[in-house]
Amino acid sequence: MTIIEERHTISVLVDNEPGVLARVIGLFSGRGYNIESLTVSEIDNISKLSRISIVTRGTPMVIEQIKAQLARIVPVHTVRDLTSAGAHIERELALIKIVNSGEDRIEALRIASTFRARTLDSTLESFVFEITGSSSKVQAFVDLMSSLGEVEVSRTGVSAISRGAVADMPIRT
């Protein structure tokens, strides 16, 4: 029997209260669901809502469970499966430090400009680049940098939103 796993990006609007992230993460670890990426931040200091973006992988049955289990959490307001809802945008931001010298240093800078990465810091032996894009773009950039020197990476994880003229998860209602 082959088990077909799908990758889904799910957005969750929650009350920004103590413990809410622990509830979400505890749900995933307790029930054995995968987390590929999870980002969270308060998105509005008046409604005190946070938005969590989760990238997960599972069979359709598991994905349905994940959504139902998330929706059951009391401080959760809305759960939206962006992957099944239609067109959406996913972006990540990454900060990449590369320590190297000589030709490799010039190559790193050249690649950074092709990837439209910004240079945030530089010394004679290092750069810190900022890059935004899809996870695969970020990964490609990290892979290239890794071959050019010692690399340190900090990634935000995926942040996502639907395309089109409907604000289906408004911050204030």
């Binding site: 009350d15 413990g19 622990a22 469970q65 929706a71």
Partner: protein, 599 residues
């Protein structure tokens, strides 16, 4: 506050200032709480002090916090109200964890108040500090750490709402001691605010109900599979189920948690289904063409091997919790809503389409079911002097008929025999730990049942090993003179473990003998209670009569056959049509390796 006249503020102002502890009791009273099961300690002393001064709420002092939670569960399950527990911080809270998990698994509405060290000490490894909200997050429906007096009342009120609506469950409110002593203004309850964040869907999608009616109307081999959700919905749901069964004439089976939703005497009732369910119930499930699941969660104890579960049926699943749907078994038609309401609408829809059961199909279907019934899978052989455990429970049932008995159980063989041989005519009469299977549940649960139903006959059908897990509660029975009957099916073994070891582990009885049991008569005597013992079949009826007639707690030590096994049994990992009916069956169906790893 100088110059302010404080004398009349209490009388004419609902928003009067009181201490946190007093506010807690005020909110409890406002929510209709009559009784709390608890155990004191440093971090809840202000609440105990407030209890001392007020006489609105009764406190039942248990002997262990786990028992407080089970007692509240028994109270809740038998009355339909939310059970309330009060324990101290640290060990008080951790002792409550088993009970909370039990209540979560069985969907029992509970509010558990835990004391906590003062807010400024939280995180300092203070004396009797435990991360109670952290520990109980996975074993509660929701929990709160009340860090400020401002949110005390709103948290408590929301906690009640969350515990008791939708799929019920336990809610913990962790109360730092300084919050209990702070000044609190008890604002009037704003229902809209209290219910804003949690609004479960109780009203089903009408089109789905209509679709269900059509599927039912077209069924030739239908079955109704009812569960604990019908009990959770309230007694009206059981009434509606009776009406639905009478209208359709459909065969109906119930889970362990659903027993009582349909009277056991109803001719459509097939008995319990599942691992220790009846042959006819399981085969009806296996061969049905339309399955109507109402308030049951396709538990593994019920489905057996999922890929062989009722392979040819169209499945309708009525549940209030969307996460119960398509979790274990994929269904054709989910209906999210309250069981009682859905059945009511389903009856309306069936009447609207002038539903008449297909007489020929039903006759043929019942014919098949009758042939499965004729196997008489619950037969047992009561010959000789030694009491068979099945017989003891069967006689207990027969001799208490018409007494509207409330029964709790511990966990093990006796629990399954109670489910098989004790018939329930009404909902809320059967208290058992289904999902977690907690030994030690039955005695404290019976205590809670008796508190909620003071004039009723309450019996804990126990195994001797389970009984010993919370037998300290005999002291509570004695203190409050709760006339609970402890009916101990004493086989001197952890029978259910012994049975698995016999059937699955080659008869290697590793650590499953109940060694060094107390003399139960002396034990009863030491608490000033009546103790009785039945050694032979001839003793049994007299002992039951004496137990039931006695006005006070009784411990009855029923010495039964030691090595009796509980059948029928679907071994783990097997399908409904692969049941073991009795000892003669065991060689024929060895447990698969896959099955061995299952519990």
């Amino acid at each position: 506050m100088d110059g302010v006249d404080k004398t009349n503020t209490d009388a004419d102002n609902t928003a009067a200032t009181v201490t946190g502890a007093e506010a807690i009791l005020k909110v409890l009273a406002e929510e209709g709480v009559e009784v709390i099961f608890g155990y004191p300690g440093g971090a809840v002393l202000p609440i105990y002090d407030a209890l001392f001064k007020s006489n609105t709420i009764r406190h039942i002092l248990v002997r262990h916090e786990q028992a407080a939670v089970h007692a509240a569960e028994g109270y809740a399950r038998s009355t339909g109200k939310t059970g309330v527990v009060l324990v101290t911080s640290g060990p008080g809270a951790t002792n409550a964890v088993t009970g909370l998990t039990d209540a979560l698994m069985d969907s029992i509405p509970l509010l558990c108040l835990t004391g906590q060290v003062p807010t400024h000490l939280i995180g300092n490894d203070a004396f009797q500090e435990a991360d109670t909200t952290g520990i109980t997050r996975p074993c509660t429906k929701h929990n709160y750490l009340v860090k400020s007096a401002d949110t005390l009342c709103s948290s408590l009120r929301e906690a009640f709402h969350v515990a008791s609506t939708g799929r019920p469950g336990p809610v913990v409110v962790d109360l730092p001691k300084d919050v209990q002593m702070a000044d609190v203004t008890v604002e009037e309850k704003d229902v809209a605010k209290v219910t804003a964040r949690y609004q479960p869907q109780t009203e089903p999608d009408r089109a789905a109900v209509r679709k269900a009616a059509e599927m039912i109307a077209a069924a030739k081999q239908p079955v109704i599979y009812g569960g604990g959700g019908i009990i959770n919905s309230g007694p009206a749901a059981s009434d509606k189920l009776r009406e639905l069964v009478a209208l359709t004439g459909f065969p109906t089976t119930l889970t362990l948690m659903g027993l009582g939703a349909l009277p056991s005497s109803d001719k459509h009732f097939l008995g319990m289904l599942g691992m220790h369910g009846t042959y006819e119930a399981n085969l009806t499930m296996y061969h049905c063409d339309v399955m109507l699941n109402i308030g049951a969660r396709f538990d593994d104890r019920v489905t057996g091997r999922t890929n062989a579960f009722s392979p040819n049926s169209a499945k309708i699943h009525v549940d209030i919790d969307p996460s119960s749907v398509n979790k274990n078994i994929t269904v054709d038609l989910p209906i999210i809503g309250d069981a009682g309401r859905v059945i009511e609408l389903l009856i309306e829809e069936l009447k609207a389409i002038k539903f008449k059961p297909d007489a020929d199909a039903m006759a043929a279907w019942w014919g098949k079911i009758q042939s499965w019934k004729s196997i008489d899978c619950l037969r047992f052989d009561q010959s000789g002097d030694i009491i068979k455990p099945q017989y003891a429970i069967h006689r207990l049932w027969e001799k208490t008929q018409g007494m509207d008995a409330f029964v709790s159980t511990e966990v093990g063989q006796h629990q399954m025999w109670a489910a098989q041989y004790f018939g329930f005519e009404e909902p809320n009469r059967w208290m058992t730990s289904g999902g977690l299977g907690t030994m030690g549940y039955g005695l404290p649960a019976a205590m809670g049942v008796q508190i909620g139903n003071p004039d009723k006959l309450v019996i804990d059908i126990a195994g001797e090993a389970s009984f010993m897990m919370n037998m300290q509660e005999m002291s509570t029975l004695a203190q409050y003179n709760l006339p609970v009957k402890m009916f101990i099916i004493n086989n001197e073994w952890m029978g259910m473990v012994r049975q698995w070891q016999e059937l699955i582990h080659g008869g290697r009885y590793s650590e499953s003998y109940s060694e060094s049991l107390p003399d139960f008569l002396k034990l009863a005597d030491s608490f000033g209670m009546k103790g009785l013992r039945a050694d032979t079949v001839d003793d049994l009826d007299g002992i039951i009569d004496e137990m039931v007639a006695h006005d006070g707690p009784v411990l009855a030590d029923i010495r039964v056959a030691k090595e009796e096994n509980c059948f029928p049994m679907i071994p783990s990992g097997a399908a409904h049509n692969e049941m073991l009916l009795g000892p003669e069956d065991k060689a024929a169906a060895p447990v698969s390796e896959e099955g061995m790893v299952l519990v």
